[in-house]
Each structure stands twice: as structure tokens, then as C-alpha cells.
């Protein structure tokens, strides 16, 4: 094995508005190795990949390619330098066919004077690439008509058809069958023998040991360490991934569980949810853990009237509830703090006060008009109570930091007096200070007798805040445990 790194990152820093995604990261990638990159969601792996691919540009730090300082200015340049990336979320063009996608921007041409695309060769080359991966696919089929697993394999076929020196695979197996995974692994082994450097991002512990040579762990935008993949144990990796003192961050205090508030029986939706049942009590925080794609958000949407159900019953306060729209759910006393707050939770060009009151305008009505005076009073009250840092309640949402935006979105649920609060990734992408404010608020709400469902991919958070924990995988609940019997291994075991 060649020990000279083909690519080195030194002290890479990348900032986004409100978040520092990479806080000075070093990484060496050797030719002929499979280097596995692990870390919790939001640890900065994808950001690093995008820097490598020329999509993002680092704010600080140096990149060395084959020992020389380099800057990767564009995806075009990355490809020319032999860097090929398979992204986690696919970059295929649904309206084009398989062959066109595989050879996009690398179309073979023929003709001396008039260079035209050699479609015949393009399709036969595409067929050959697919054949090598044992994929039985017609290169002329539109990508939009295919399954997610097909998409993943097409992305891989695309990457493998490029003569590359560095191949990046971002969670390539998450939608593949066992046989396809095997096929991919044998291709990776061959590439490794050819001296290609492979950066492999994965959540699956067993894969790290299977194909990794070295493993690097990221946490909160920092590199925790690089170890030999054959020597390190799964437990050690998990410890590196999570490793922080849980008790100090989470203000959990024991509370007696109250009466049953919400009961969900056999929620099913074809291809999404499979027989999801659980109960939620007053004063309880129910943690919902699982990997991204385990359909936890869909459970929230089902209860909130935003996902049509095939079967199942929702009982709130002893009354049967059939939410057809989010409006029904809000009126019945359910509040949702959505995962993607920018898209589903807030009106970024409106003021803080307009956002806070947006879901319960009825409460501001005086006669036919809205009372702007009451709107201001209510908002100022909440801003004080939640420690929201905003110049005034008239400030536009977009100028607030991520953590404060999150608090305002949360306030929206409080304003409508929801009894059941569903928090979908409540602390994703916000700083520690704002996190603690939100945790404190959750405890207060629970003490007031509200029931809280907290969806989170952050396992320490789930362990630290929940009274009871449910784990989901592929649309079904795979484990349920009380706080005192839960640990990281148990949760990961049920989620993977």
C-alpha cells in the first residue's frame, strides 16, 4: 500500500449562516485505501465531501493534492482532477434516460469536422458499465421510471465509468439489496487494488469492519481521530462518535407519568408506515430514535393530518381523531415543530410576531379585524419567556440566528395551546446555548402536563431527554424501552 497521501486536508473551516459546519479539520487520503468516514448526522461529513467535489469552498485551510497545494474551484475541475463523487441524495436527471445520465458531460463524440454525440457507443458503453455491475437495465429507460435502488446503482455506475483517482461514496448501501451491496464491495476491492483512493461514508458499523482500511470519526465539525479499521471495535467507534458527558447538558428530572393523552393504534400507509402503535402520557417526553429514512417524520405527519393513512386509529384525550388536514390537528390540540423549519415552519420574510401568531390568528380576533396590539403583547411575552434574542418582535425572521428561529417556530405551537407537541429534530443545526434553552422549555412543558414526542437522530439527546424511547426502522417500531433500561448500543442495534 502506498503511504503517501494523494489528498490532504489541513485545518479546513467551513461556515454557514448561523452554523460552523467544519471547525478546522485534517484528513489524509491514501491511494489504494478505503477510508471510512463516520459521524452522527450534522457532524460535517457531507460538507467535507462537497468541498472535495468543488461544490463548496472552504473559508479557511489548505488542500494538498498529490503533495501540491490545490484549490478545487468547481465540480468540473474536481472531475478533471479525477475526483468522482456519489452523493447521498442522488443527482440524476429524471427526464433523461439511464445512458444519458451515466455519460452526462462525458458523451462520446464522433466525426472529424462536426463533432456529434455517438449515441450508439454511448448506449453500448452504458450497457457494458451496467453489465459489469450485474445490473439488468435498459440504458434507454427514463431514470424517473426506476426505483431508488436503481438510482443508487446508476450513480455508482456513473462514478465507476469515470477514470478516477479518488472515489467518494456517501452512504452508498442505504438503499441497496444484499446482493447489490456485495457487488459494490467487490468493485470497491478491485478499485483499491488499482490504487484508487476511496472515501467511504457510512452509518453501518458492520461495513466499516468489512471494507474499511482506516476509519476517521467526525463529531460536531471536528475530527475526533483516525484509527485502523481492523483494530478498532464497534464500541470504540460509537464512543468516539457520541462521546460527551450527557448528564451535564440535559436538564432531565424525574416526573411522574400522568394519564394517557394520545394513543395511536396500527398506523399504516402503503410503502411508508407499517403498523405503528404507541401511547403518550401527560407530562411525558417520548423519544423517537432511528436513522434518517426510518420514517419517523412520517409518523408525525400522520398524526398531524399531513399524511394519508390506509388504516389505523388516533385517540386523543379519549376521543377518536381523524385529522384530514393539519388544520384539524391544530384545532384538536396537536402542535408540530417541523424538521425543516425553513421550508415548513416559518415565514422568513415576516416578522417574529407574525410568525408566532400565524397558526392561531383566531385568538387575535376582535370583531372582524385582528388586534395588532394583542399580537404585539403576546409576542413580547413569549420572546421574554423563551429567551429569544431578537431586536424586537417586528424583526424579520430571516435575520435571526438558527437557534432563535427554532424557538420562534416552537412558540407557534405554544400559542395554539397544543396539548400534544411533536418536535421533529428540535435541536438540529443550532448552537449549544439555544439547545439548552429548548431542553429547559421541553421540561417545563412536560411539567405543565403536555405530552411531547421528540424525534431525534442525536442518540445522546434521545437518551438524555426522554422518559421513554421508541426506535424505528423502515417504517415500523423495532424497540421500545424506558429511560433506565436504554443505552446507545440498544438504540443503534434496533435502528441498524
Amino acid at each position: 500500500m502506498n503511504s503517501d497521501p494523494i489528498l490532504s486536508f489541513r485545518n479546513i473551516v467551513k461556515r454557514f449562516p448561523g452554523v460552523e459546519a467544519l471547525k478546522g479539520v485534517d484528513l489524509d487520503l491514501n491511494a489504494g485505501e478505503v477510508h471510512v468516514l463516520v459521524g452522527a448526522n450534522g457532524a460535517g461529513k457531507s460538507t467535507l465531501v462537497k468541498i472535495l467535489a468543488g461544490v463548496y469552498h472552504p473559508d479557511e485551510g489548505e488542500i494538498y493534492y498529490e503533495g501540491r497545494p490545490a484549490s478545487i474551484r468547481s465540480p468540473e475541475q474536481a472531475l478533471e482532477s479525477g475526483i468522482s463523487v456519489v452523493y447521498q441524495n442522488f443527482n440524476l436527471i429524471n427526464k433523461m434516460n439511464v445512458g444519458q445520465n451515466i455519460f452526462l458531460n462525458r458523451e462520446p463524440v464522433k466525426g472529424r469536422f462536426f463533432k456529434r454525440i455517438d449515441w450508439k457507443r454511448l448506449y453500448s458503453d452504458a450497457a457494458a458499465v451496467l453489465q459489469r455491475l450485474h445490473m439488468d437495465l435498459d440504458p434507454k429507460v427514463k431514470v424517473g421510471a426506476l426505483t431508488v435502488a436503481d438510482h443508487q446503482m446508476i450513480e455508482i455506475a456513473k462514478a465507476l465509468s469515470i477514470e478516477c483517482r479518488i472515489l467518494v461514496l456517501d452512504e452508498p448501501t442505504s438503499s441497496l439489496s444484499e446482493q447489490e451491496t456485495e457487488e459494490l464491495f467487490s468493485r470497491i476491492s478491485k478499485l483499491r487494488e488499482d490504487g484508487v483512493a476511496i472515501l467511504y461514508i457510512s452509518h453501518r458499523m458492520e461495513e466499516i469492519k468489512r471494507i474499511g482500511d482506516r476509519v476517521t470519526v467526525f463529531r460536531d465539525g471536528r475530527k475526533i481521530g483516525t484509527e485502523d479499521a481492523r483494530e478498532i471495535t464497534v464500541d470504540q467507534i460509537i464512543k468516539m462518535m457520541l462521546g460527551r458527558e450527557i448528564d451535564k447538558i440535559y436538564p432531565w428530572i424525574g416526573r411522574p407519568a400522568g394519564e394517557e393523552l394520545l394513543s395511536v393504534e396500527g398506523l399504516s400507509s402503503p410503502g411508508i408506515l407499517r403498523d405503528v402503535s404507541f401511547t403518550l402520557h401527560r407530562g411525558e417526553i417520548l423519544g423517537l430514535a432511528g436513522l434518517v429514512g426510518a420514517k419517523r417524520t412520517e409518523v408525525a405527519h400522520a398524526i398531524f393530518g399531513a399524511l394519508p393513512l390506509e388504516s389505523g386509529r388516533i385517540i386523543l384525550n379519549g376521543r377518536h381523531l381523524e385529522p384530514k388536514t393539519p388544520r384539524d390537528a391544530i384545532n384538536a390540540g396537536i402542535g408540530l415543530l417541523p424538521e425543516d423549519k425553513r421550508k415548513h415552519g416559518m415565514f422568513s420574510i415576516l416578522s417574529v410576531s407574525k410568525n408566532i401568531t400565524s397558526a392561531g390568528l383566531r385568538k387575535l380576533k376582535t370583531g372582524l379585524a385582528l388586534s395588532l396590539k394583542r399580537e404585539r403583547e403576546v409576542s413580547e411575552d413569549f420572546v421574554k419567556k423563551l429567551n429569544i434574542r431578537a431586536p424586537s418582535v417586528n424583526t424579520r425572521m430571516e435575520s435571526l440566528s438558527g437557534g432563535n428561529q427554532q424557538k420562534v417556530v416552537l412558540t407557534k405551537c405554544l400559542f395554539t395551546n397544543s396539548e400534544v407537541l411533536i418536535f421533529d429534530e428540535p435541536t438540529k443545526g443550532i448552537d449549544v446555548g439555544a439547545k439548552e434553552d429548548i431542553y429547559r422549555l421541553m421540561i417545563e412543558l412536560a411539567q405543565e402536563g403536555k405530552g411531547i414526542i421528540m424525534i431525534s437522530s442525536d442518540i445522546p439527546e434521545v437518551l438524555g431527554m426522554s422518559d421513554r424511547i421508541m426506535v424505528m426502522k423502515e417504517g415500523r417500531i423495532t424497540a421500545e424501552m424506558f429511560r433506565d433500561e436504554a443505552n446507545q448500543q440498544k438504540i443503534l442495534g434496533a435502528a441498524l
Binding site: L79, K115, R116
Partner: protein, 328 residues
């Protein structure tokens, strides 16, 4: 040659008889034939060689701009500057034909169109402003410029003797076929070849299909947008110059009538996806033929031009409803 199934994009390979598939693929042609058939019965003198050549000649001047618009729409944009660019090109070419030589005038007409298109492309590609807003701005700017230099008057003083070759481009005939129709056909083939047989053309589809994915594949967004909008502007330059050749004068409002509406309308009525990513220029031609033959038939039946517009509008919406034009 063109791979089978590629001529008109469709959703996946289908086997057996699938009405939706055939409807999508041949529906517009069927609709066109139905319009022709009904018109032949109802409109006197509709079914004659001279009438058809008439319609096709008038249509040809518009066809050039629809080729440019097809490229823009397939790439996921829209060019609203078309009407004014035709006027400005017409004015520029007329002025230089009058003062200088006809061929310099032609070059000026083409150049002005291409330049304005290039400016659109720079703003959209490099500064990354929205295409609709940018070209709307250019619609005003070029429209204003066409009127500004002559204070709204037309450009006269072209010597018909000196410009006789130039005049031939628009009014001449080869074997009784108007030369402008032949030109429109040549440009049709050119556009088709660009779209289907060049990497540039393939990247136009990619850009319209998924901009982010296209960029990640290394396609240069700025360069693509500049090229596409320059070609779109150039297509207006061709139309504007040919209008000068036809009228032997420069009319500052020549493009402000139906040019813009028809350039977008033809693309849509022909069944190209208004959101880009699929489509072909053949459909655009079909779309424009439907608009023009329909107007012509209504004309012959004796329906006023104002009522015609109402009917054409209804047809556009009806096409969309029937799933012939994609916009549902």
C-alpha cells in the same frame, strides 16, 4: 442515427397498447390533422396550395424565433425579450442597409439580436438573476431603443435596386417555393441537430431536467446560459433582418405584436414541457402550424381578428386540459 424512443421523450419504455403513451406522443399531430380536416370542410379556399404556401410563408418569419425559444424553454428558462429584439434587429438592419451595404445591414441585424441575447445570458448565467425578470427587462430596453433613435418613425430610404439580393431572402422563390420557407427548414434542421446530436444540446436537456445535477456533473452553467440566450437573441436577429428584407424598411413596432406570444405559445401548444428538460423543435413547429392554420381558417370563414384571438386562447387552454400541452 437518433436512438429509437429519443425523438419525442416519453416516460419509460412501454410495452403493449398504452393509450396515454400514444396520446402523449401523437396527440398533437392528431389534433393538427383534425383542425386541418374541419377547416377544409368549413373554410372556403382553405385547401389549396396557394393558401398553404401563404400561411407557411407568414409563419416562417415567426418560426425562427420559436427555434430560439425552444432551446431556452428546454433548458428550463423562458425568454420574454423576443418581441422587442425582433423590432430592434429590424431597425438596426434597415438603418445599415439604407446607409451602407445590404449585407452589412444583415450582419447588423443578426449582431444586435445576438448581442442583446448575450447580455441576457451574462446576467442570467453569471450574475444568476431570474431569466423571466431579466428578459422582461430586456423586453423594455430593446423595445425602447427601437423607438428611441427614430423617435418612433420607421427607417426608410432603402434602394430596392441595391437591395434586390437582400430582398430575395424574404420574398424570392426557388421552384415556386418561397425562399423564406426553405430558410426556415434549414434552420429547423440545424436546431434539431444541435439539440439531438451535440453535447451542447444534450446539456440543454440536462440543465432543464435538473440544474443542480447538471452542475455537479461539471456542466458550466454560466457558459451554457450565455450560449443558449445568445442563440435565442440570434434567432430574433434572423427574424428581424428578414422582416427588413421583406418590407425594405425598418418598423420599430414590428415585433411587438404576436411575436412574443407566438414564440412561447408555439412551444407550449406543440406539447413541449414548459418546465424544461424534455421536448423537441419538431413539436414547436407543429405548435406554430396549429396556431397559424387555425387563424387562417377562421379568417377565411369570416371571423374577425378579435374573435380569432379569443378562439386561439381557448384552444391553448383546451390543449393543456387535454394533456396535449404539458402544464397540468
Amino acid at each position: 442515427m437518433i436512438p429509437q424512443g429519443n425523438a419525442i421523450p416519453l416516460q419509460g419504455a412501454k410495452t403493449g397498447l398504452d393509450i396515454g403513451f400514444y396520446w402523449e406522443r401523437y396527440g398533437v399531430i392528431a389534433a393538427f390533422l383534425v383542425i386541418l380536416a374541419i377547416s377544409s370542410v368549413l373554410a372556403p379556399n382553405f385547401l389549396s396550395v396557394s393558401n398553404f404556401l401563404n400561411v407557411l410563408t407568414t409563419m416562417s418569419f415567426v418560426l425562427f424565433v420559436t427555434y430560439g425559444q425552444t432551446l431556452v424553454i428546454i433548458s428550463g428558462g423562458m425568454d420574454l425579450s423576443h418581441g422587442s429584439l425582433v423590432s430592434l434587429s429590424c431597425m438596426a438592419s434597415a438603418a445599415l442597409v439604407a446607409i451602407e451595404h445590404p449585407w452589412i445591414g444583415l450582419a447588423a441585424g443578426l449582431g444586435v439580436g445576438a448581442l442583446c441575447g448575450f447580455i441576457n445570458g451574462v446576467i442570467i448565467g453569471i450574475i444568476r438573476l431570474n431569466a423571466i425578470i431579466t428578459t422582461l427587462g430586456m423586453l423594455y430596453i430593446a423595445g425602447g431603443l427601437s423607438l428611441y433613435f427614430t423617435e418612433g418613425r420607421s427607417v426608410e430610404g432603402i434602394d430596392p435596386e441595391k437591395a434586390s439580393n437582400f430582398h430575395f431572402l424574404a420574398e424570392g422563390q426557388i421552384f415556386h417555393i418561397p425562399f423564406v420557407i426553405i430558410l426556415a427548414l434549414v434552420f429547423l434542421i440545424l436546431t434539431h441537430v444541435i439539440l439531438r446530436h451535440t453535447r451542447f444540446g444534450n446539456h440543454i436537456y440536462a440543465l432543464g431536467g435538473n440544474e443542480e445535477a447538471a452542475e455537479i456533473a461539471g456542466i458550466n452553467y454560466a457558459r451554457m446560459k450565455m450560449m443558449i440566450f445568445t442563440l435565442s437573441g440570434l434567432s430574433c436577429g434572423v427574424a428581424g433582418s428578414l422582416l427588413t428584407a421583406r418590407m425594405l424598411s425598418g418598423e420599430p413596432r414590428v415585433g411587438s405584436g404576436t411575436f412574443l406570444l407566438e414564440s412561447i405559445g408555439a412551444v407550449v401548444v406543440g406539447g413541449n414541457d414548459i418546465f424544461g428538460g424534455t421536448g423537441n423543435v419538431g413539436r414547436t413547429v407543429l405548435g406554430l402550424m396549429i396556431l397559424h392554420f387555425l387563424s387562417n381558417a377562421l379568417n377565411l370563414i369570416g371571423i374577425s381578428t378579435f374573435a380569432q384571438q379569443v378562439i386561439v386562447g381557448i384552444v391553448v387552454i383546451l390543449f393543456c386540459y387535454l394533456g396535449l400541452a404539458r402544464g397540468k
